[in-house]
Amino acid sequence: MSAPAKPIAETLGLRGGWRGKWLPWALIAPMVLFALALTVLPLCYSLLTSFQEYRLGQPPAFVGLQNYQHLLHDLNFRGSLGTTLIFTIAATGAEFVLGLALALLLKEEFRFQGIIRSSLIVPMVIAPVVVGIIWRLLYNADVGLFSFAVQALTGKSLSVLSSTTLALPALILVDIWEWTPFMFLLLLAGIQSLPQEPFEAARVDGAGAWNIFLHLTLPMLQPVIVVALLIRALDAFTVFDQVFVLTQGGPGTATEVATLMIYKSAFRFSQFGYGASMAIALLVLVMFFSAAVTRAFKGKA
């Protein structure tokens, strides 16, 4: 890996000549072009729009920091950030605990392990929109299995998704169902790639299962755990599809997560400028969070 660049370039026939000099760049160019046109340009455009009053059918007008000032006092936006945060922490946390438990449960070889592992990851390959449909069918007060079970147990008819207090937990449950398999898959792969010697040594010394888990498995697994939590947290923080299909943010604003709120303000109320400023704020939060996590675990991971 650390071999000096020159001999390799020479062996590969890169010495001299315009072809040799330009080839590495020519290979990267198409990707850079795509990134510039469809990521960097839109991002700059977003930033520009966030300083404008921009509604459909009207020419955009520059308004400086007005959108951002509005943002700071917008209780709906603050509320949606709070909802998103609760959703992210609860879902990611539960998925981690359940995924780890499943991984520990299934880490040893056993009969039918292939088919069982494949079955367990079915939810994560199903489109989030379809996951929404599945849970609409379960939660529905008239036809839902979930509601039927609740009614049989408590005698009360329950429409979970139209309850201000239960709608958010219901959405969190859906996310847990869909993404625990992801945690399971990542952590299982992590556990299986750990070296065996420390565990054997600990067992010879007579350490109990719980101690081995706490003082060996968890610390050695830390890099995988950090990556898994980060990926899931970032995705949960920008959740949209299942919420769109199941509640559209309702009842009221009980489940209005940030991405949904921005979508509504831009594409339902065509306030492109204000929507862009909220999107930029979200981007800054996400970058700040990722940078903080990466920095905290750098060197250890």
Partner: protein
């Protein structure tokens, strides 16, 4: 409490483990089964209480109606065209870039490039979607297959390049050098030596790209709207509004949208872990 013999303890642990696994399987699969079950029921049976665990008069009406009246065939075709094109494009472009990054970039630059390749993946989609909508509208690419193909290609590129780079790095340089010492051109050594060795990487990467793109909803919802270009998730979500209480049809649409990928995932099971974890775990 009397001390249990180790054989009994092992037995107990085995039974606990078994029952926990069974519970996990039921919780995972029952919701999916319920959708399949509902999709074969007629409108009367859907509303029967208590619900039936097996369709009493199984019917294909829901599926027929979807394809005859709800354009599901068009949505499916759009999905196949858009996803196929975007995956092939991003794999071709991303692999070239990845090869260059793996072979020609060294030292300090390599570390920082590592970050910049993957950074776009961290951007919340919602931060890009407003300007993308305005740009594509300007170009006349709203509700066009091409518009979504371009957006998905750009969206896939960061992790395709990132994953393929890690696969290329695993291929020893000596092999290529040996071939070239023997007189092969760089192009030939790439085609005959690097590509075959990178094949598992290409498979894992396309699996990931395919699942992500096929299931993508947010961009598709905003950039396409009619059966002319809308993908399966968008068409399925649109059905929910239109069918109101036709839960059988809704379930059938869900089955159509889910089945291709579930079967695909089972087929490629062996490559799935590395694919789904973006190459982070072997």
């Amino acid at each position: 409490m009397p001390r249990l013999s180790s054989a009994v303890r092992r037995r107990l642990w085995f039974l606990t483990r078994l029952s926990l696994i069974v519970v996990a399987l039921i919780v995972t699969l029952l919701p999916v089964y319920w959708m399949v079950n509902t999709s074969f029921k007629n409108q009367v049976e859907v509303f029967t209480s208590p619900p039936t665990f097996w369709p009493q008069n199984p019917t294909m009406d829901n599926y027929v109606s979807l394809f005859v009246r709800r354009h599901l065939g068009s949505y499916l075709l759009n999905s196949l065209i858009i996803v196929g094109s975007a995956v092939v494009l991003s794999l071709a472009i991303g692999s070239l870039a990845a090869y260059s990054l793996a072979r020609f970039v060294k030292g300090q630059l390599r570390e920082s490039l590592n970050f910049w390749v993957l950074a776009p993946r961290m951007i919340p989609p919602v931060a890009l979607v407003v300007p993308l909508f305005l740009i594509l509208q300007h170009l006349g690419l709203i509700n066009k297959q091409l518009g979504l193909i371009l957006v998905y290609t750009a969206f896939n590129l960061p992790f395709v390049a990132w994953m393929m780079r890690s696969f290329f790095l695993e291929i020893p340089m000596d092999l290529e050098e040996a071939a070239m010492v023997d007189g092969a051109t760089r192009l030939r050594s790439f085609r005959d030596i690097v590509l075959p060795l990178a094949a598992p990487g290409l498979v894992a990467t396309s699996i990931f790209a395919l699942i992500i793109t096929f299931n993508e909803f947010f961009f598709a919802l905003i950039l396409t709207s009619t059966p002319a270009a809308a993908t399966l998730p968008v068409g399925t979500a649109a059905l929910i509004g239109k069918t109101q209480t036709l839960y059988g049809e809704m379930a059938a649409a869900g089955v159509v949208a889910a089945v291709p990928l579930v079967i695909f995932a089972l087929l490629v099971q062996r490559h799935l872990v590395r694919g789904l974890t973006m190459g982070a775990v072997k």
